[in-house]
């Protein structure tokens, strides 16, 4: 099917009546997928809520040990990347190939900066023995409560790790979109994949907007 009617299948697949319907369907599908993602992360957020309310003091102490400046930097980086993503989508809507590729590239770059900072931050944790496991130790927490501190870091790594995994997938999508745009596969009428990649990117961004205060700012919230 792919070879003989390439342009045609891209424009309108056989099960649809109109291009508008096709775009509508794709967008709705993505939104529903994002709902499943909300539920997926929701399980983690629930676990976090339970333990934070069970052990508020240890969580505040553990939270204050992670570097809020890395988190803040990454928040700024991600918000900027959402902005460049919007500009890329706009470029695609107007059918400007070069603009689209440039802004997709910028988005990709910012995404990689985020992952770089994250990797650096995780590396520091290894040196400070903050990675859950036999060697775990957090200064300022009594020996009996080390386990609770370890819980915080378990959640920290699980949540930021899954988020980073989503970022990696997002980066892959952006690269694919750059390639397809370069090949001239999109027009001002048909740019649904870019639109949808944008939705995904913003979603991953928003997850971080929740993770940042929950993980990095607990201590500041606890009445200093």
């Amino acid at each position: 099917m792919a070879s003989e009617a390439h342009a045609e299948t891209l424009a309108l697949r056989e099960q649809f009546d109109t291009a508008a319907q096709q775009k509508d369907v794709a967008t709705l599908g993505m939104w529903i997928f994002l709902i499943t993602e909300v539920m997926f992360f929701g399980g983690m957020f629930l676990a976090y809520t339970v333990y934070r309310s069970s052990y508020p003091n240890v969580f505040a102490r553990a939270s204050s040990s992670i570097n809020v400046y890395y988190g803040a930097l990454n928040t700024v980086v991600l918000i900027c990347s959402s902005f460049t993503m919007v500009l890329a989508v706009r470029g695609a809507q107007l059918g400007k190939r070069i603009t689209t590729i440039v802004f997709l590239g910028l988005t990709l770059f910012l995404g990689l900066v985020f992952l770089g900072v994250k990797a650096f931050e995780w590396g520091e944790k290894f040196h400070e023995h903050h990675v859950p496991g036999p060697g775990f130790h957090l200064a300022g927490v009594p020996p009996g409560l080390q386990g609770q501190a370890q819980l915080f870091f378990s959640l920290y790594f699980a949540m930021t790790g899954l988020h980073a995994l989503h970022m990696v997938v997002g980066a892959g999508l952006v690269i694919t979109m750059m390639w397809l745009t370069y090949k001239g596969r999109f027009t001002a009428e048909y740019m649904t994949p870019i639109d949808i990649t944008g939705l995904y990117w913003h979603f991953v961004d928003i997850i971080w907007i929740f993770l940042f205060p929950l993980l990095y700012l607990v201590d500041r919230h606890m009445g200093k």
């Binding site: 599908g29 529903i32 539920m39 399980g43 069970s54 819980l151």
Partner: protein, 490 residues
């Protein structure tokens, strides 16, 4: 499937370890790889687009992907089974699954994780298809109830399955990295696992039963030649079950350190689920009233469903009641209850639907006499298998043990005998379905004289489902117009 079915009720052949692995695999395979996908994947994928007058689902390629994922997930589970099995029970309760079990928990969990994605994608596909792909004139309240039931099912799949996925990810992390989220030694809470698990797995029960209810609505209407009584009530009761299903997970935790108040609330909410379920049963019965009923095989399954589901549902009320539940928790009473709902409900619906739509899918009729016989055998075998288990459970026989005091033996023997009968009942359809593919009478486009859009196109349907997309002008189940007029359109 039948082999495991036969083995589990047996008592003395295996060591307790083997027994643990057997019932775990029975549960995992049946629930995650048969009951959850059976009706949506087989009947839903085929008929949902036909029934709303679409050429295909919204995302055919995602549909194919979800099929591959299910197969891959199944391969993981089979690998785990061959490599040595899992002994945690299908519920994977922590800390046993994370700390103590030395069996293939990860492989099995991975299999379920992958199959879960398949389930999510199917649900997503159905929701989008129902929202955006309906034929002209096919309004929401002209949709067949089968479609409504699948809509509700898809909602659960989309909202519930991700929570199971993240729970399995946490189990995985816990086993591999010992992160301690469910480990009390570190301050973690094993009961949290139960909450997360049942948040998915109770609604999952409705993933299994709702499509079957949709099938039954179709069957009852066709074979009594009447529109479904209280159509919109039945449609909304599906959605109500989906919503309420998310609010009752706590009734699995009555004996797991849950506070008394929480127990009361969950108990109360669990009673609520009975309301939409009862609406369905009463409306089906009301549909039968003064209908011209004919007893073809699918209708026999529909009657079987109503009877068994009613028993299963009513015993569910016993379990929702705090006082009684504490007495029968983890006994055969629970086992019998969920087999009545799942096997008696979901499999009856599946078989009924399969017989009903078999001519449409294959273009061949199945042999009616044999089919009626096997429907009867299944019904009898089923009751013989599981009814004694209610009594066993009430007398205190705990589930998941392979030995028992000798006074329970008579009932156990009855149950095992029933399982053998049931197995025969399942083998007969397999044989005659295969036979009918080659030798069955050729089916017309509408052998039952039904009204649905799927009967307006040739059997089996062409690649794009319809030669020309139909325009819908009547409500679903409108038997007031002459049947002949409806058929000619295709």
């Amino acid at each position: 499937m039948i082999r495991i079915e036969l083995l589990t009720p047996n008592g003395h052949l295996f060591s307790s370890d083997t027994y643990n692995k057997l019932f775990t695999m029975h549960g995992v395979v049946m629930i995650f790889f048969f009951l959850i996908p059976s009706i949506p994947a087989v009947l839903g994928n085929f008929f949902l687009p036909l029934m709303i007058g679409a050429r295909d689902l919204a995302f055919p390629r995602i549909n194919l992907l979800s099929w591959y994922l299910l197969v891959i997930g199944g391969l993981f589970a089979i690998f785990a089974m061959l490599a040595g099995g899992v002994d945690t029970g299908w519920t994977f309760y922590t800390p046993y699954s994370t700390t103590y079990s030395n069996t293939w928990v990860i492989a099995t969990a991975l299999g379920i994780f992958v199959a879960g994605f398949s389930s999510i994608l199917t649900g997503l596909n159905f929701i989008v298809t129902i929202h955006r792909m309906r034929a002209p004139g096919m309004t929401w309240f002209r949709m067949p109830l089968f479609v409504w039931a699948h809509y509700a099912t898809s909602l659960i799949q989309v909202l519930g399955t991700p929570v199971l996925a993240v729970t399995l990810v946490l189990i995985f992390c816990e086993r591999v990295f010992h992160i301690g989220i469910f480990d009390p030694a570190l301050g973690g809470d094993p009961v949290l696992f139960q909450h997360l698990f049942w948040f998915y797995s109770h609604p999952a029960v409705y993933i299994m039963i709702l499509p079957a209810m949709g099938v039954i609505s179709e069957l009852i209407s066709v074979y009594s030649r009447k529109p479904i009584f209280g159509y919109s009530f039945v449609a909304f009761s599906s959605v109500a079950i989906a919503v309420l299903g998310f609010l009752v997970w706590g009734h699995h935790l009555f004996v797991s350190t849950q506070s008394f108040f929480a127990g009361m609330v969950f108990s109360f909410l669990s009673y609520f689920v009975a309301i939409p379920s009862a609406i369905k049963v009463f409306n089906w019965t009301a549909t039968l009233y003064k209908g011209s009923i004919s007893f073809e095989t699918p209708m026999l399954y529909a009657f079987g469903f109503i009877g068994l589901f009613t028993i299963g549902g009513l015993t569910g009320l016993f379990l929702a009641c705090l006082g009684i539940d504490v007495h029968v928790t983890d006994t055969y009473f629970v086992v019998a209850h969920f087999h009545y709902i799942m096997v008696g409900g979901a499999i009856m619906g599946y078989l009924g639907g399969l017989h009903y739509w078999w001519p449409k899918m294959t273009g061949r009729m199945y042999p009616e006499g044999w089919a009626k016989l096997s429907a009867l055998v299944i019904f009898l075998g089923f009751n013989l298998t599981f009814f004694p288990q209610f009594i066993l459970g009430y007398l205190g026989m705990p589930r998941r043990y392979h030995t028992y005091p000798s006074e329970f033996q008579v009932l156990h023997v009855l149950s095992t005998a029933g399982a053998s009968v049931l197995a025969v009942g399942y083998i007969i359809p397999v044989i005659y379905f295969i036979w009918s593919l080659r030798y069955g009478a050729v089916a017309s486009s509408n052998p039952w004289g039904a009204t649905g859009l799927e009967w307006r196109t040739p059997s089996p349907p062409p690649v794009q489902n319809f030669e020309k997309i139909p325009v819908v002008t009547h409500d679903a189940y409108d038997y007031s117009t002459t049947i002949g007029e409806v058929i000619e359109v295709g």
